[in-house]
């Protein structure tokens, strides 16, 4: 297992990592590089990789049922699937065409949103919050349900990621039919 935290500094995920005492690599991605490379738009997202190949594409999965009421996903099916994969190599829908059909390639707007986010983060680090804010807003407009951008930018912008801006985003997402691979995961039983 490799975990990657999309946080803007090492201190925010530190308490969780120190409490878990992981024996696997537990990494911090302040630039959201892995989000871009793997088309990740929400957390927690898992990708299964075997000998350098993706064998199960991006899916929202959880290690517990703490937030099942919110997103509707139970942890048990995925945990059982991981055990089967590790123990005897079993993977459902593992042929290449099936995997490719489930990969959600980004749109041009979503990639532009990532560039806007990178620019905004650079401006934030330079202390130019006013200019950064314009680009965070633009990134959110271009990719309105990329949670790594909209919710991920909340702590940087002085917003509470569990506060009013989060619930506003959650309502927007709910009203739009919960787009993204959350609903895809649920529909496909992945």
């Amino acid at each position: 297992m490799i975990t990657v935290a999309f946080d803007q500094n090492r201190e925010d995920p530190r308490p969780y990592i120190e409490k878990a005492k992981p024996t696997h690599p537990s990494l911090i991605d302040t630039e959201h590089r892995v989000a871009d490379l793997y088309g990740i738009i929400n957390v927690s997202t898992v990708v299964w990789i075997d000998k350098g190949k993706i064998v199960r594409p991006n899916a929202i999965e959880y290690g517990s049922d703490m937030f099942t009421q919110f997103h509707g996903l139970e942890s048990a099916p995925h945990l059982a699937a991981v055990r089967a994969w590790v123990n005897d190599g079993t993977i459902e829908n593992a042929d290449a065409e099936s995997i490719k059909s489930r990969m959600m390639a980004p749109t041009a707007d979503e990639q532009l949103a990532r560039a806007e986010f990178a620019l905004a983060w650079h401006l934030s680090q330079a202390g130019n919050a006013e200019a950064a804010e314009r680009h965070y807003v633009r990134a959110g407009e271009l990719s309105p349900f990329d949670w790594t951008i909209r919710r991920g930018s909340m702590p940087i912008r002085g917003q509470n990621p569990m506060g009013p801006e989060f619930f506003e985003l959650a309502q927007e997402w709910d009203a739009a039919g919960k787009p993204g691979y959350v609903s895809e995961s649920a529909k496909r039983g992945l």
Binding site: F6, G39, T45, H122, R138
Partner: protein, 136 residues
Amino acid sequence: MSETTFTLIDESRPIETTAHVDGANVTLAPEAVRAALGWELKPEGLCRGQVCVPVRDDRIAESGIALDALANALGRPLALDAENHVAALGASADVRRAQFASLEAPDFELPDLAGAMHRLSDHSDKKVLLVAYASW
């Protein structure tokens, strides 16, 4: 129009270069583009290694390369803040689509809490459950 320091973020890697900034128009010298991004202006177009991209925009010339024209020629998304002399060039959706179709897991290198660097490819002989999460 005067030459000034300009930051070009290339897929999250900031590069300090120089550019002419005139309002929203940002122009780099071909040498600056070559040094920053590795693309060289040649008679056949913009070239990097064995790859050449044809140039059909006269704002890409030996006298200067307009940043938005460069992004367009390379098919890359451009986020620009000319006032603050910084821009970000992202990866194109086409590049990501082709990469996804290959099913190759892109390599990356990131630090852990102690600052030690780790690469995905260090585990290329194993099954890897890649889990992305956040404290927020």
